[in-house]
């Protein structure tokens, strides 16, 4: 089975701190994604990556950056955390081609609270 893991289930940070959220997948997927999930808003795409060192902005990239130095690892960085970034963050991965590339595998999520 595909396994996507996230470094923390729960995280509490202070306003202004730099925050790193880590995601690792073990199925050699090329595509990786970061979403944030808020009640009533569903999943919103922050950034995605289709290869090592490649990244593309999603729908809400402001206030975030990403890093993909290795194929299996995709990091989300909050340069200066703010209270409006309190949310559930979900990482996902998918195959690179064919119909299967549309099917995403999700990690358990990181509940981030910024105080």
């Amino acid at each position: 089975d595909v396994k996507v893991t996230q470094s923390s289930r729960y995280l509490v940070k202070r306003t202004g701190e730099k925050v790193f959220l880590e995601c690792v997948q073990d199925m050699d997927h090329e595509n990786m994604f970061w979403y944030r999930q808020d009640p009533g808003l569903g999943l919103r795409l922050i950034y995605f990556s289709y290869d090592v060192k490649m990244k593309e902005k999603g729908d809400i990239p402001e206030g975030y950056s990403v890093s993909r130095e290795k194929k299996e690892r995709f990091s989300l960085i909050l340069e200066s955390a703010s209270t409006n970034q309190t949310s559930m963050y979900l990482c996902a991965s998918s195959f690179p081609s064919g119909p299967g590339e549309y099917e995403q595998y999700f990690g358990p999520g990181t509940r981030l609270t910024v105080t």
Partner: protein, 114 residues
């Protein structure tokens, strides 16, 4: 552009009753359609998917969904709901404009009464 609408924010059913969760999509050609489930505090798990072929798709946990092109719908059904089915359900569509990135609906929260 592709889009997904889940008209129901919350659905409440009694245990043992049947369930139907609605999903409508907007997409030009034959879409790739998915239903995911999210248990409290967890990530999303794929329930079922439709790419082509038989329009009635079977998934895990006793769920099924039917693709109806004429209605642009992909509704999720289960004949008898269990208390453990209480969760958030997301419909997603992909393939629009050649993009492999799915667009998710806002989700439907299922509440199961004993």
């Amino acid at each position: 552009a592709q889009s997904v609408t889940q008209p129901d924010i919350h659905i409440t059913v009694s245990e043992g009753a049947s369930l139907e969760l609605r999903c409508n999509y907007s997409y030009g050609a034959t879409p790739y359609l998915f239903w995911y489930v999210q248990s409290p505090g967890q990530g999303l798990q794929l329930l079922l998917k439709y790419f082509s072929g038989d329009t009635l798709v079977q998934g895990i946990k006793g769920f099924e969904a039917e693709f109806k092109r004429s209605q642009s719908s992909f509704n999720l059904r289960k004949p008898s709901v269990h208390w453990s089915d209480a969760a958030e359900y997301f419909c997603a569509v992909a393939g629009g404009g050649g993009s492999y990135i799915p667009t998710f609906g806002r989700g439907t929260s299922l509440i199961v009464h004993p």
